[in-house]
């Protein structure tokens, strides 16, 4: 197992350096530089442009700029935003808890509903329930997030008034400092009703962000279950007289989980991408919107640092998923 972990960790390093190179190159390949974008219609004189180029350090060769950036990264310094003038690191950690909280809720929502739905659909293959579930999954998967979010807001917040329109917590609650995880901060605050308010605000964004993962997990679970259910050992288990629920949820589901876990791991990237739209619509102060704004403003340090941190998170999640395989399927860790 240790050798397995070390070998996985070794693949981490080249990927990490690759990401630094790509994130550095990516934003510079885009036409338009931060100075021109910042100046907008007003523009800057050629002399002033020259001064600003020197001030931002863009007059140095690209290789030197990359080397400076890499040196900073290795020392834990991701630079300072051109726009807010704050360290990228501080901005990321001020916003990341909001994205993480929402993503975790969305993935839990997707797993809790998606796994049983997939199992039930597989067991009832070809029947009405299977078809209804799989059609809903297809619709869920194809739904444009933007449209889906607005629809839910109009119905549940506008017409029915059951949920708040946007934000993380009612404006009457206010915590300065804290962990940034609103549920946690609200739970431990001395403000009555704060936790319920935070939970209330999570409902719609969780559904919106969790819809695509839910559909994917349900479909993946169904197809993995169908494969497993036709195996000989399942027939044996049934022949032994085990209850259908024990056969389906213990014998079959555990073996069907490998591809499902792979999908859940891959969903982290999807969740972060989906978070961009979900965060924008629900005014959710997370890293998705922060990254998009920074790309538009050509805020090089934020784009580079943000991409790198997101990539590292995705890598860590994938590594964890790889390790989980080992626990679920002993054959893998022995390879």
């Amino acid at each position: 197992m240790l050798r397995y972990i070390v070998s996985r960790l070794l693949t981490f390093l080249p990927t990490f350096f690759g990401v630094t190179l790509i994130s550095f190159g990516f934003i510079r390949v885009l036409p338009g530089d931060p100075i021109v974008v910042m100046a907008g219609e007003r523009g800057v004189t050629p002399e002033r442009y020259k001064e600003l180029v020197a001030q931002f350090g863009f007059d140095r060769p690209l290789l030197v700029q990359y080397w400076e950036y890499l040196k900073g990264v290795l020392q834990g310094d991701l630079g300072q935003s051109f726009v807010t003038k704050k360290p990228v690191w501080d901005e990321f950690f001020a916003l990341f808890p909001a994205t993480l909280e929402l993503s975790l809720c969305a993935i839990v929502f997707a797993i809790v509903l998606g796994l049983p739905a997939g199992v039930i659909a597989a067991v009832n293959r070809g029947k009405f329930f299977d078809r209804a579930l799989m059609s809903s999954a297809l619709v869920g998967y194809s739904m444009p997030i933007f449209w889906w979010a607005l629809l839910l807001i109009i119905v549940f917040s506008g017409w029915l008034g059951w949920t708040p329109v946007s934000g993380r917590i009612s404006l009457m609650y206010f915590f300065d400092g804290g962990t940034g995880f609103m549920l946690w901060d609200a739970l431990w605050s001395d403000q009555k009703g704060a936790f319920l308010s935070a939970l209330h605000h999570l409902i719609l964004p969780t559904i919106v962000l969790g819809t695509i993962p839910l559909a994917v997990i349900a479909r993946q679970t169904r197809s993995a279950m169908l494969e497993v259910l036709s195996e000989d050992y399942i027939r044996t288990a049934r022949a032994k007289g085990l209850s259908p629920s024990r056969v389906n949820f213990v014998h079959a589901l555990r073996n069907a989980l490998i591809p499902v876990i792979t999908v859940i791991g891959l969903m982290v990237g999807t969740l972060l991408a989906g978070a961009i739209l979900t965060e924008t619509i629900f005014s959710w102060p997370g890293i998705g919107k922060w990254m998009v704004d920074s790309i538009f403003r050509r805020d090089y340090p934020v784009v580079q640092g943000g991409l790198l941190l997101i990539a590292v998170i995705v890598m860590i999640v994938n590594l964890t998923v790889d390790m989980l395989y080992g626990f679920i399927n002993p054959k893998i860790r022995k390879r």
Binding site: P31, V44, K85, S157, F174
Partner: protein, 530 residues
């Protein structure tokens, strides 16, 4: 929970729950996050809304709802005969805000004024490089070339000496970058080794005191009880950052906010019909235009440009592109600006006459490019669609049009080139309410190869605007600018397309809100009816 948190929570709780103190909280669903809280470092209206208007004052200020200038932190000022010296008498007894980290020991005085400008101007000032300051507006308004010195005559008198007479100087001082900071606070931050906090935890003399900012989510302010114009009618001001216009509308309907900017044009009719919403509107201080390259044949001939202008159906553009939230433009300055010449007659939409004029000018089989901006702006919400409509209009008079576009930064850069191929869709939003800010910047000879996208340098026009720039007599300036608009119309370097109409939906219980022509959102003077 620290003291500030407790206090703020208490205030907000009381307000929202309608507590015994019946504190009033106004929630503004703002469209974006401020970049910071030092207005001199930035150029965006979103940042100014959150910083210069609630927290700071300037020596001179725009009267809310107009482009007129009134005394602010300066009680009065005098200009010398030659227009090179301005002496300001400062207001006495003005208090800066106090926070957990800073308690002012003195009132506002001349040192604060000098500091506020020198930090943007003098490289040896301790704040010149703090927060990577690029001081874009200070430089953009040519203050570095304009200022010769700023002298403290006494604690409450300051003299600005200029290198040349500049009539819009007072209007420049009413702009956001000229907000007055506390020198005492700035010095205390330097001593504490945290000068960058000037941009994060602002201290000013304005009607609202900054309380806290949760990034990309909420900004909280409380009314400044010692405000020199009198305490604001509302007790607390909250900016709930809501980037999506449809969501802002839903929040307004659900009473989660009282005021929202920038509604979707498609929602405006429904908002007007909503009994809970009052729709305020005013023409914006902007202009959207199509600038020909007047240095290239056949666009170097005024009659060709005029003929093309007559081929454009502006009413169709207002209907389709602005969905009614625009007004056809005939002058290069907006109607809300002083010296707007309403006597100018716009070129009538007449494709037949246009065709004939082109033929008379010897132009046949003309092909041209129209550049369409890749971004939305108030003066042009959909440049691609506007270009397509113009393409169809020009087709009717026998002119073939190819539409081109570039990434925004590239677009701005490439469109400056004197040998640029094609006419450019662009626009401008006024900075200081002075016609010079439109006419000299966009159409003056100095702007050729830069902000003058028409590359148009026409001496009779240039003489008028240069004379107006150095004349301090308002009546005289007005006359000169009115004449300049007549010359502009005859020469037609642009097709003036539209001025946007700014819509501002507010809840019906909100009173005293005024739409500001400079695009700012100002909450001093606003109240909520019980």
């Amino acid at each position: 929970m620290n003291l500030r948190t407790t206090l703020a929570t208490g205030l907000v709780l009381t307000a929202l729950l309608g507590g015994a103190a019946s504190a009033k909280t106004l929630v503004y669903c703002s469209e974006g996050s401020p970049e910071g809280f030092d207005p001199a470092l930035y150029t965006s209206g979103t940042t100014f809304d959150a910083s210069s208007h609630p927290v700071f004052n300037r020596l001179a200020e725009f009267v809310t709802g107009t482009t007129e200038v009134e005394p602010g932190l300066a009680e009065s000022w005098e200009a010398s005969e030659d227009g090179l010296e301005y002496t300001f008498k400062l207001r006495q007894g003005v208090k800066f805000h106090a926070s957990e980290k800073f308690t002012p020991t003195r009132d506002f005085n001349a040192d604060d004024v000098i500091f506020s400008f020198e930090r943007q101007w003098k490289e040896d000032n301790a704040y010149f490089k703090v927060s990577g300051g690029t001081w874009e507006y200070f430089n953009g308004m040519s203050m570095t070339d304009l200022l010769k010195s700023i002298e403290k005559v006494d604690d409450y008198t300051v003299k600005f000496v200029l290198n040349r007479p500049e009539a819009p100087f007072i209007a420049n001082l009413a702009m956001d970058f000229a907000s007055i900071q506390s020198k005492e606070y700035a010095d205390a931050l330097v001593a504490a080794g945290t000068p960058e906090l000037l941009n994060q935890e602002p201290i000013g003399t304005g009607p609202f005191q900054f309380v806290a900012y949760q990034k990309d989510a909420v900004i909280r302010y409380k009314a400044n009880a010692d405000y020199w114009r009198g305490k604001a009618a509302i007790d607390d001001l909250v900016f709930a950052i809501t980037p999506d216009a449809s969501v802002r509308y839903q929040k307004l309907k659900a009473n989660e906010c009282h005021v929202m900017p920038y509604p979707n044009p498609a929602d405006i009719e429904a908002m007007k019909a909503d009994a809970d919403i009052t729709m305020l509107e005013q023409e914006g201080l902007n202009v959207g235009y199509l600038a020909y390259n007047t240095k290239q044949a056949p666009f170097d001939k005024p009659e060709v440009r005029k003929a093309l202008n007559m081929a454009i159906d502006k009413n169709a553009i207002i209907d389709v592109v602005f969905q009614g939230s625009g007004k056809a433009a005939k002058n290069p300055i907006p109607p809300t600006m002083w010296s707007y010449n309403d006597a100018v007659v716009d070129d009538a939409y007449d494709p037949e006459a246009a065709k004939k004029m082109l033929a008379d000018a010897g132009v046949t089989d003309l092909s041209m490019k129209i550049w369409a901006m890749p971004v939305q702006r108030p003066y042009n919400p959909n440049a691609r669609r506007m270009a397509e409509l113009m393409q169809a209009d020009f087709e009717k008079v026998g002119v073939k049009v190819e539409i081109v576009s570039y990434e925004w930064g590239e677009y701005l850069e490439r469109s400056k080139a004197e040998d640029r191929d094609g006419a450019v869709l662009l626009g401008w939003t006024g900075d200081n309410g002075d016609p010079d800010n439109f006419l000299a910047v966009l159409l003056g000879c100095d702007g050729v190869g830069g902000s003058n996208r028409a590359q148009w340098c026409y001496q009779p026009f240039e003489d008028l605007i240069q004379k107006a720039k150095v004349t301090s007599d308002m009546a005289e300036r007005t006359k000169l600018y009115e004449e300049a608009q007549v010359v502009f119309k005859e020469q037609a370097p642009w097709a003036t397309v539209a001025h946007s109409v700014v819509f501002m939906p507010v809840r019906k219980e909100v009173t005293g809100y005024k739409v500001h022509p400079l695009g700012s959102h100002i909450f001093y003077g606003v109240d909520i009816a019980e």
